[in-house]
Amino acid sequence: MLTPFTESDAISLVKTAARSNLTLEIRGGGTKAGLGRPVETTEILSTSELKGITAYNPAEMVMTAKSGTPLSEVVAVAAEHRQGLAFEPVNYRGIYGSDGEPTIGGTFACNLSGPRRFQAGAARDHLLGLRFVNGLGEVIQAGGRVMKNVTGLDLPKLMAGSHGTLGLMTELTFKVLPLPETSATIVLAGMDEAMATQAMAEALAMPVEVSGAAHLPESCRARFLGGALPGPGTTLLRLEGLGFSVKERATKLVAAFSKVASVSQLNHQQSASLWQEIRDVKPFHADGRERPLWKISTAPSMGHQILSALRLQTGVDGYLDWQGGLLWLRMEAAPEAELVRDLVKQAGGHATLVRAIDEDRAAIPAFQPETPAVAALSGRIREKFDPAGMFNPGRMQNAR
């Protein structure tokens, strides 16, 4: 394991690796190593010693931290100033049964966002700037530490979600926004998925700023919040903000839906726990059986249709987040990649095979296959950042 302590160390290591034709697996906390195609490299490069918050002025709502800084440290320091990462970074340790500490670099490299995604944006929308070492061993500075910046190409967007395939991030600058003062969740019981999807769309059309909209079918409802949610089938609408706002908006939502469903309400504490469980995919955590797990992003009106279609053809459990546009699926047995991807292709969107046994991970593209033109373009881009294909080769499964 190569462990740089400074950015200069990282540059030397990359240059050495380039000279010796080595390949490098970039590893932060290793908690999401199960995501993407398994990478076989000559060396592992750990960011664990590139750590520490280097700049934070709460009045600017911006923080800078080295890439290996534990996510928990970022969250804790920002919380002291009632700020946080508004995209709700996910914790995949439960999904993979992994231990280790998620890092801020890994968080942005995977561009994974929680339930607030449709309102607050993705991780990539919160990354303002970064420093990274490219495949030539050059330090590249991109973006900045200001909220609005259109100076040149938006490299931070490209680096977010590149899964460490374009370079080694050393330092990141990102938004830290005010944490909501309080929250509440309106619980609608007894709707099927089609009704729930319609209800979520109606709620999102109201001027109440819903910041979470999920539907938990009866098949997995009881595995959330210790079984405390009412069924059959639970639809959830989250409100966040100042106390008086949340109270007023909750009243409006209750009034709007009390005719079509049995309505109850969760307080701030319960709401916080529940949305964390939804974010971290609690019902489908690793249980020793490594059943395949898919994450599907599609149009909000299509999520439940994909789920229904699959139920007719295979053993599957799933639930909807992001107003119905994020569908989590756990297959009973095989990944059924062809079936899933065909349905997603018809519906529009993309399917990521988040968890599978190694054999399936090697055989099935983890990310939705791209059209030849997009794949070719992505390939040309990779060559411009990492000509030798040194970093996490093959993780995103694009032909090189």
Partner: protein, 478 residues
Amino acid sequence: MTETLAFLPPNEKILARRAIIVGDLSDLLGPEGIVSDAAELVPFETDGFIAVRNLPLAVALPRTTAEVSALLKYCARYDIPVVPRGAGTSLSGGAIPQNDAVVIALTRMNRILDVDFANRAAVVQAGVTNLSISEAVSADGFFYAPDPSSQLACTIGGNIGMNSGGAHCLKYGVTTNNLLGVKLVLFDGTVVELGGKYLDAGGLDLLGVVCGSEGQLGIVTEATVRLIAKPEGARPVLFGFATAESAAACVSDVIGSGVIPVAIEFMDKPAIEICEAFAHAGYPMDAGALLIIEVEGSETEMDMMLAGIIEIARRHGVMTVKESQSAMEAAAIWKGRKSAFGATGRIADYICMDGTVPLSELVAVLQGTYDICASHGLRVANVFHAGDGNMHPLILYNINDPDESAHAEAAGNEILKLCVDHGGCLTGEHGVGIEKRDLMRHQYKEADLAQQMRLRAAFDPKWIMNPSKVFPLEGRVA
């Protein structure tokens, strides 16, 4: 204004073949789709950055993605430079052509193709104006959030090219945060679709790179944009402060309090005077600085939020607080701010800068701006988006006075360097274009720029898309 803003020298071979090229383009689009008459080309010689003018070789007005694809395929084959154009409102010269370029103007592709409330998305052609999207969905309670000042005229294709912002992006984000997908024609005519009515396009985030790429990575012909439910109400409040320092300190504390208003606009004394004389908005003339803070929500919510903000302002010794009591008063408050550029244009020529700085540097950069302009013997007025540090100094000068023009350009460059030196950037929402191209090396090291240029070359290996813009002409890499 300036001969320093050089374009790439025109390719004489292309100029010599002009008649043939125009003929070929007419074959592709039909004669009514091509503008080649010298007089008819004049409206295309510049954009909102009027200091530079160049007649293009010809202008093509495609109606479909297939036509855009055919045009690009043809131009790539003969290495003819292409300059994409929307409504031509760029403030950085992003749409100004060069003599050997074919302008591809998307203004005839102006249809809204699909409005989908269940999925809160609209699919529009690139030539649709920004405001018309909100107008099309307003009756159903939705809007499209980014609101650049030119929103009546500017097109969504141009907004994507520049990653445009606006006064309300403090809460709702800029174009890139509200864009779900595009149909993009690459330099060689290849059509690709990125994203759609879903979140987080898979694979590398090409959509994120295309947004703000100033027409250099391809031509966007269609866009899928995010629609948001309109707030119940919105209310701006005017705050007059004795000094810029106290106004800026108030901004910091408002943001620190955990309430992010929809907009926080800042005007300094010269701007107050110019706007009040024009709009009669009732701005306090004794104030040294003015903030317009807008909040959204129900009547009760707005009352509660404003009470908190007013209390913070009082702690900073606010002199005047003027709450709008009616829609008319609210409109009057915004009228002054929104007419700032127009009002300034009535009293002098001006160039508008667009640097962004960290919030803690606002006052220092403002003072530096005054010092720089004073040293050049020029007046300056500042109106800007204080909530996100995006400054807009308007440097007043006489465009017919070459000496004063040179001073204005020099002052502008010094101000932008000052922004970078205070941890900021050259441009927050107007784009680099031709205007700030030669300052790029002040913000970026050689390796940083080279990496961006290599990325650009991955999309356009021939460097024929809007080639004179963004990247300094020397030291280009493929």
